[in-house]
C-alpha cells in the first residue's frame, strides 16, 4: 500500500522540485548548486515511481532508473568541471566566475 494518497506524493515531489530550483538560485557554493540539482532530479524520480505505482505501469520505473544512471554520469562531469574551475580558489563562490558577460 502506498501509505499516503497519490496527490500527497505529487505535492511532495513538487515541493522537492522547487526546493532544488531555489537552491540553485540562492546557494553560492558550486557543490551546493550541484546538490540542489540532484534534489530536482530526485523529485522527478519520485514522481515517476509514484505515478508508476498509481497507474500500475512499469514505464515510470524505467524512466526513474534512467534518471539515476544519467544523474550519476552528470554528477561525474559536473564534479570534474567544478574541480577544474575551483581547485585552488580560496572557498569556491559561483558568483566569482563572471569574466564572460554582456
Amino acid at each position: 500500500m502506498p501509505g499516503m494518497p497519490f496527490s500527497g506524493y505529487v505535492l511532495l515531489s513538487a515541493v522537492l522540485f522547487v526546493a532544488g530550483l531555489v537552491g540553485v538560485l540562492v546557494r553560492r557554493s558550486p557543490l551546493a548548486a550541484l546538490m540542489s540539482i540532484e534534489l530536482m532530479w530526485g523529485a522527478a524520480t519520485l514522481l515517476f515511481v509514484a505515478a508508476s505505482r498509481h497507474l500500475a505501469a512499469m514505464g515510470g520505473h524505467v524512466f526513474a532508473f534512467l534518471i539515476v544512471v544519467v544523474g550519476a554520469a552528470e554528477a561525474a562531469i559536473g564534479l570534474a568541471l567544478i574541480v577544474l574551475i575551483f581547485r585552488g580558489r580560496d572557498g569556491a563562490d559561483v558568483d566569482e566566475v563572471r569574466s564572460l558577460r554582456g
Binding site: 524512466f63 569574466s99 554582456g102
Partner: protein
C-alpha cells in the same frame, strides 16, 4: 511485447556506425603509438561519420523509392523515419565539418575530443528521432554532456572553463525542468511514449497537470534551442568553445532540439483549435522574443563568436515562423532554412577557426584590415555574413523568403513583423563585421608580413610560427579548413540560386503528421 528483431537492428545501421566510430577512436588511440596517433584518430572519426552518412543516404534513397517506408523501430521508441534521416544527414555534415576544422587544433591528444563529438552527434540524432520520452531525455543528456566537456576542451583557458561550467549548471537545471515536465505528462498519460501523449492530447479532457507538463517540457526544449529568455548560457558557451565546437553546437543542437520540439508539439498540442492556439501562443512569444533579443544583443558585441551566438538566438526564432499553424509543409520550409543556416553558421565559425589558426583572434577590432592579410578568408567572411544578413544570392535570402512565404500561409502576422524588424537590425550587425574586415587596418604589429621588405611584392603572408614537426600537419589542417570553407560557400550559393533541388526533395520526403 517481444524482443527487438533483426529488422530493428538493420534500420539502425547509420547510428550504429556512428557509435562504433566513437568507440574505435578511443581504441585506435590506445593501440597506435602516441607519436603517430593523431592522423589515425582523425581518419577513424571521419570514416565513422562518412560510413554513417553513407548508410543514412542509402536509407533515404530507399525512402524516396518506396511510399511504404517503415519508420519506427523498437516498438516506436526510435523513429528512424525520413525526418530523422534528413536530420541525421545534416548533423553528420556538421560533425564532419567540425572534425575537419578541429585539425587546426594544435592539441596533441584529440581522441577524446573526437569521441565526444561523435557521441554528441549520436545524441542529437537520437533526440530528433525519439518516439519516447526516455529517448528524448537520454539523447539530450548524451549531446549535452559531450558538449559541456567540449566547451571546456581548451581547459588551460580560464574563459573556456567558465563557459563550460555555466553551460553545465544551467543545462542541468533545464534538464531537471524538462524531466519534471515529462514526469507530469507521465502522471496523466501512464506511458512514456510520445504516441501515448498524442492519444491523450486528442482524447479530449486535458487538465492542468497536462498543461503544466507541456509548459515545463516546452521550456526544456527552448533552453536547448537558446530561445529568449532561456538563452543567457549561449553567448558564454559559444565564446568559450573552440570555434569548431561552436559551429557544431550552433547547427547540431539547434537542428536536433528543433525537430524534437516539433515532434513534441505535434504530439502534445490538443486537437481542439482554441486550446491549440493557446498552446502555441507561448511558442510564438518565445520565437518573437528570441528574434529581438538575438538581433539587439548582437549589436555591440566585439567577440565574433559571441556575436554569432546572438545571431543563432535570432535564427532559432525565425525557424518557428512557418510552423505556427503546425501544418506539415511548414516543416519543409523550416528544414530548408536549417540547411541554409548550416552553411552560414559552419562557414562563419569555420572562418573564425581559420582566422584563429592564422593568429587572428576572434575579436572584431583585431579583424580590421583582414582583407589585406588574408584576402580569401576575408572574402569568405563577407559571403557568410551576407548570408546571415539574408542577402541574395545566398541561401540566407532564399531561406528567409521561404520562411516568410510559410509564415504568410501559417498566418503568423506579428511574428513576421518581428522577423522583419529583427532582420533590419541585424543587417547592421553583419555589415559592421564585413566593413571592419574590409577597412584598411593600421599595419598589424603581430603580422610578420608587415615587416617584410617591399621588393618581394605581395607574397602570401607568412604563416604564424609553428614547430617544424608540425608543418606537415599544419598543411593538412589548412587543406581541411579550406575544404570546409569552400564547401560551405558553394553550398550557400548553390542553395541560394537553386533552392528547388533541395526544397522539392524535402517536401517530398518529409513525413506528414
Amino acid at each position: 511485447m517481444a524482443l527487438p528483431g533483426i529488422s530493428d537492428l538493420a534500420t539502425l545501421a547509420p547510428w550504429a556506425a556512428l557509435a562504433a566510430g566513437a568507440l574505435l577512436v578511443i581504441v585506435v588511440d590506445l593501440i597506435v603509438p602516441e607519436r603517430h596517433a593523431r592522423p589515425w584518430v582523425f581518419a577513424t572519426a571521419a570514416a565513422g561519420v562518412l560510413l554513417s552518412g553513407w548508410y543514412a543516404a542509402r536509407r533515404l534513397g530507399e525512402a524516396g523509392a518506396s511510399a511504404a517506408f517503415a519508420g519506427p523501430a523498437f516498438g516506436g521508441a526510435f523513429l528512424a523515419d525520413r525526418l530523422s534521416l534528413v536530420l541525421t544527414v545534416l548533423v553528420l555534415a556538421a560533425a564532419l565539418f567540425s572534425v575537419l576544422l578541429a585539425a587546426m587544433d594544435k592539441t596533441r591528444d584529440m581522441s577524446g575530443y573526437l569521441a565526444l563529438l561523435l557521441l554528441s552527434a549520436l545524441g542529437m540524432t537520437a533526440v530528433a528521432g525519439a518516439g519516447d520520452m526516455t529517448v528524448v531525455f537520454v539523447g539530450l543528456e548524451l549531446l549535452s554532456l559531450g558538449l559541456y566537456v567540449l566547451v571546456a576542451f581548451r581547459r588551460e583557458d580560464e574563459t573556456a572553463r567558465e563557459g563550460a561550467f555555466k553551460y553545465f549548471l544551467l543545462g542541468s537545471l533545464a534538464a531537471g525542468i524538462l524531466l519534471y515536465g515529462f514526469a507530469l505528462l507521465y502522471t496523466v498519460t501512464g506511458d512514456t511514449s510520445l504516441a501515448a501523449v498524442a492519444r491523450y492530447a486528442r482524447g479530449g479532457a486535458v487538465g492542468p497537470l497536462f498543461h503544466a507538463g507541456f509548459g515545463l517540457v516546452l521550456v526544456g526544449f527552448a533552453f536547448k534551442l537558446a530561445m529568449a529568455p532561456f538563452h543567457p548560457w549561449a553567448p558564454d558557451a559559444y565564446q568559450a568553445a573552440p570555434a569548431p565546437v561552436a559551429a557544431f553546437m550552433a547547427v547540431g543542437t539547434k537542428a536536433a532540439a528543433f525537430v524534437a520540439l516539433v515532434r513534441f508539439l505535434w504530439a502534445a498540442v490538443p486537437a481542439d483549435p482554441g486550446l491549440a492556439s493557446a498552446y502555441m501562443a507561448p511558442v510564438a512569444l518565445l520565437a518573437g522574443a528570441s528574434m529581438l533579443v538575438g538581433s539587439l544583443g548582437a549589436l555591440f558585441q566585439t567577440n565574433v563568436k559571441r556575436l554569432l551566438a546572438y545571431s543563432g538566438i535570432a535564427h532559432a526564432g525565425y525557424l518557428f515562423v512557418p510552423l505556427m499553424s503546425l501544418e506539415p509543409d511548414g516543416l519543409g520550409t523550416a528544414m530548408f532554412y536549417l540547411f541554409a543556416y548550416f552553411f552560414m553558421a559552419v562557414g562563419a565559425f569555420g572562418a573564425v577557426a581559420a582566422a584563429e589558426g592564422r593568429g587572428e583572434p576572434a575579436q572584431l577590432e583585431r579583424w580590421q584590415g583582414l582583407y589585406q592579410r588574408h584576402p580569401w578568408l576575408a572574402a569568405a567572411v563577407a559571403l557568410f555574413f551576407l548570408g546571415l544578413a539574408g542577402m541574395p544570392p545566398t541561401a540566407g535570402f532564399t531561406g528567409k523568403l521561404l520562411l516568410i512565404g510559410g509564415g504568410l500561409r501559417a498566418g503568423a502576422g506579428w511574428l513576421l513583423a518581428a522577423m522583419v524588424a529583427s532582420t533590419g537590425i541585424s543587417a547592421y550587425v553583419y555589415l559592421r563585421v564585413i566593413s571592419t574586415v574590409y577597412r584598411s587596418g593600421q599595419e598589424p604589429a603581430h603580422s610578420p608580413g608587415a615587416l617584410a621588405p617591399m621588393a618581394g611584392g605581395e607574397g602570401p603572408p607568412a604563416a604564424p610560427a609553428v614547430d617544424d614537426e608540425n608543418e606537415w600537419e599544419t598543411a593538412w589542417a589548412r587543406v581541411g579548413t579550406g575544404a570546409v570553407l569552400l564547401l560551405a560557400a558553394a553550398g550557400l550559393v548553390v542553395l541560394g540560386l537553386f533552392p528547388n533541388a533541395l526544397l522539392d526533395g524535402l517536401t517530398a520526403l518529409l513525413p506528414l503528421r
